[in-house]
């Protein structure tokens, strides 16, 4: 055979893209009712773009869902709605406020009150209500040590629980998709992507992201070394004065648990340069939800969190 092309190697982003598209197509082929979790954050933006590519020129054959705490950045919600309209997918919004109103969960109180953990109930209720059998999440293994041990196709029992000690072995690119009624699989197409891969892909593909990922002026206050946006949902202490700073967000959760970083990076290349040089992880730097304990993520994941 004439080997006309140099050496048939692919770049790291091409390999990751091919692997993720394979995963997404496998779900569409083997499950009846998949859904893709789309928050408007950078990871789910990449995941949605990969889903578009997986089925092009057809449309994405499943809906997307956002678990809305009601405390999200308005810029991100606006972005979410615009992106959904562009792709033509159906958007389901699962509302934490509605879970609270229905008495399914109780609002936390106190200084660190957040709806982060409450989302699990809202998410699991929505999965049951819609009878979703496969749920795409944008989590990456490099994010957190419990996630480093999770499968790409991660089994959830009828209570939505993850059992880290009893996971299905995962070999080659062959995925076991079999479940019983009421169980579901969480699927993580970005498992092998790092934070830097995500940013480099966004830059290479020219994907649009919400403006809060770039440097902008914002009223903030400092708490435990994090800069939190001044907003109506966090009770602020008298020792926590508001000041103006030029910041950007490195991750986008809701306003009560996501911190900003001081930055002048106004372009994607500046952001990538900062990410490449940083010596602190994204969750360590900007996520209050991981600070509860060493195993905060594992504990939430066991309950059925993202």
């Amino acid at each position: 055979m004439p080997l006309t092309h140099s050496d048939y190697t692919l770049s790291q982003l091409d390999v990751l893209e091919a692997e993720s598209i394979h995963v997404i197509r496998e779900v569409a082929a083997e499950f009846e009712r998949p859904v893709l979790l789309f928050s408007g954050g950078k990871d789910s933006i990449v995941m949605l773009a990969l889903a578009e590519r997986a089925f092009w020129p057809a449309r994405i054959p499943f809906p997307v869902m956002h678990v809305d705490t009601g405390h999200n950045f308005p810029e991100v919600i606006e972005f979410r709605d615009r992106r959904v309209a562009e792709t033509g997918v159906r958007l389901e919004v699962a509302s934490v406020q509605e879970s609270i109103d229905a008495g399914r969960v109780a609002e936390e109180t106190g200084r660190w009150a957040s709806r982060n953990r409450l989302q699990t109930v809202t998410l699991l209720d929505a999965i049951a209500d819609h009878r979703f059998d496969a749920v795409f999440g944008g989590a990456r293994r490099d994010e957190e040590k419990a996630r480093a041990k999770e499968r790409v196709f991660s089994f959830r029992d009828e209570f939505g629980q993850w059992d880290p000690k009893n996971q299905r072995p995962e070999l080659w690119n062959i995925y076991n998709t079999r479940i019983r009624m009421g169980e579901h699989i969480r699927v993580f197409p970005l498992s092998n992507w790092t934070e830097l891969d995500v940013w480099q892909y966004i830059a290479r593909e020219g994907l649009e992201i919400p403006s809060i990922y770039f440097a902008h002026p914002r009223s903030v206050f400092e708490r435990d070394g994090m800069l939190l946006a001044d907003n109506p949902y966090i009770p602020r202490g008298e020792d926590e004065p508001v000041f103006q700073a030029t910041v950007r967000y490195r991750t986008v959760g809701d306003m009560t648990c996501t911190g900003a970083v001081e930055s002048a990076a106004a372009q994607i290349d500046d952001v990538i340069a900062e990410i490449a040089a940083t010596r602190i992880t994204e969750r360590g730097q900007t996520r209050a939800d991981d600070r509860t304990s060493e195993a905060a993520m594992e504990d939430r994941k066991r309950e059925g969190y993202f």
Partner: protein, 439 residues
């Protein structure tokens, strides 16, 4: 679709600079061999460990009364692992140098060892087997080497660690290499490299060791950066398992109305527009009209690209079918000979066990028709006349399938030669099988 500039041009590359590729490696061994220290050093020296992660590890080490920073805590992420000081499962780690991105499948040395090692090795380009220089080869290192070759990991590195504790003695290193080479003649090893290291002090990990100037090979990381993996894929035998049929059904757009594309990930060979291809099971031939990606058509497709084939003729093709070349076809068989690694802790594999087989994009039912022997992973001895395989045991079986598979010997193609076994009752993945030659 907006902004899909880069997707269609993976072949052309992105810019003139040399791009980085990915090396997947599996590390096998226990904490005692210094595996966690080695991984910790690779991650730390390549700046993949961050300050907050290191601070958390230092905090935990201190709280547990350890007098050193226990780098194993970086990789042991689960509550039970931290409490019991053991590693339960395969953990994936990531680091990068300007040349390559690395994905480490870090497998524990003790509990569920075989199951985890087989899982980690199934996708690995390279396996590192760690040996403690003071102890030399152990039963465990032989087992690691055997499993890596069973899964046909193309490159093997025997890293002789703790050289500092044997005074960096060349003779100790060479004795271990000789002993391993003698054992390796019994295995089918593609590429074998020996490196003397001290993970604790960093000798020959990232930097060349000044304590072992007698060794002319490169340090470990340099080897990982430069080992040639592009030829490890099968670029000869065209294999395209059809994963998903794309039919837009958009009545408004006449161009899309008749669009029918066969999506999948290339498992072998190089496909080009105009190529004569054959569809299995029908045996009908047609040509490739176009190879689509979201970024536009491409001139060629090869593993592991995910693409969509548009064919010249209307052939009835569905998921689970195979596209190949008319003069280079896979085996089409309902009787599969395979080496099985059994992974269930509740059920055993016996003759007449019923299982579900998933192979590429095809799922069929199967009956275990024969269990020929169990292979002792330590001695490579074949134990015949057995009636079952238990957890973490490896044996040779004949499977009878309800429908044919389109497959190759695993030695020829890891994608079309590997399959998983699923328990009908529990839906658990209970085994992995590698199709053998000699059908």
């Amino acid at each position: 679709m907006p902004n899909s500039t880069g997707t269609g041009s993976p072949v052309a590359g992105h810019g003139s600079a040399r791009h980085t590729d990915i090396l997947r490696l599996a590390t096998a061994g226990s904490v005692d061999d210094g595996k966690s220290t080695l991984i910790g050093r690779l991650l730390y020296d390549s700046k993949a460990i961050f300050e907050d992660q290191l601070a958390a590890v230092e905090r935990t080490s201190r709280a547990r009364g350890e007098d050193y920073t226990n780098l194993a805590l970086l990789t042991d992420g689960l509550r039970a692992e931290r409490e019991q000081g053991i590693t339960i499962d395969v953990a994936y780690r990531y680091f990068a140098t300007p040349r390559r991105k690395f994905i480490i499948a870090d497998t524990p040395g003790h509990i569920q060892y075989t199951r985890n090692m087989v899982t980690g090795a199934s996708t690995a380009d390279l396996a590192i087997i760690l040996v403690d220089a003071r102890n030399g080869l152990t039963e465990q290192s032989r087992r690691h080497a055997f499993l890596a070759t069973l899964l046909r990991v193309p490159h093997l590195v025997l890293a002789v660690n703790k050289m500092d504790l044997v005074a960096y003695d060349q003779a100790v290193f060479e004795d271990i290499c000789d002993e391993f080479s003698a054992f390796a003649t019994k295995l089918d090893i593609g590429d074998l490299t020996f490196v003397p290291i001290s993970a604790l002090h960093g000798d020959n990990v990232v930097q060349r060791s000044e304590n072992m100037t007698w060794h002319d090979g490169p340090p470990l990381l340099r080897h990982l950066e430069h080992v040639h993996i592009a030829s490890d894929r099968n670029l000869i035998d065209v294999r395209f398992p059809v994963q998903y049929v794309i039919r837009p059904h958009q009545a408004t757009d006449p161009e899309l109305h008749d669009y029918r594309g066969y999506a999948g990930q290339v498992a072998g060979g190089v496909l080009k527009p105009g190529d004569e291809v054959m569809h299995l099971p029908s045996g009908m031939s047609t040509q490739i009209s176009r190879i689509d990606t979201a970024g536009g058509p491409v001139e060629e497709a090869f593993p592991p690209m995910s693409v969509t084939l548009v064919l010249a003729d209307d052939v009835d093709i569905s998921r689970g079918d195979m596209v190949c070349r008319p003069h280079n076809q896979p085996m089409v068989t309902q009787d599969v000979e395979a080496m099985v690694c059994w992974m269930s802790d509740s059920a055993t594999l016996t003759p007449r066990s019923r299982v579900i087989v998933k192979h590429t994009t095809r799922t069929v039912k199967a009956l275990v028709r024969d269990l020929h022997y169990r292979l002792d992973v330590n001695t490579l001895h074949r134990e015949e006349g057995i009636d079952r395989l238990g957890l973490n045991e490896i044996g040779r079986v004949t499977l009878r399938l309800t429908q044919p598979l389109f497959c190759d010997p695993y030695s020829r193609n890891r994608q079309t030669g590997g399959l998983i076994l699923i328990d009908e009752a529990t839906n658990g993945t209970v085994g992995a099988a590698m199709i053998t030659e000699g059908h």
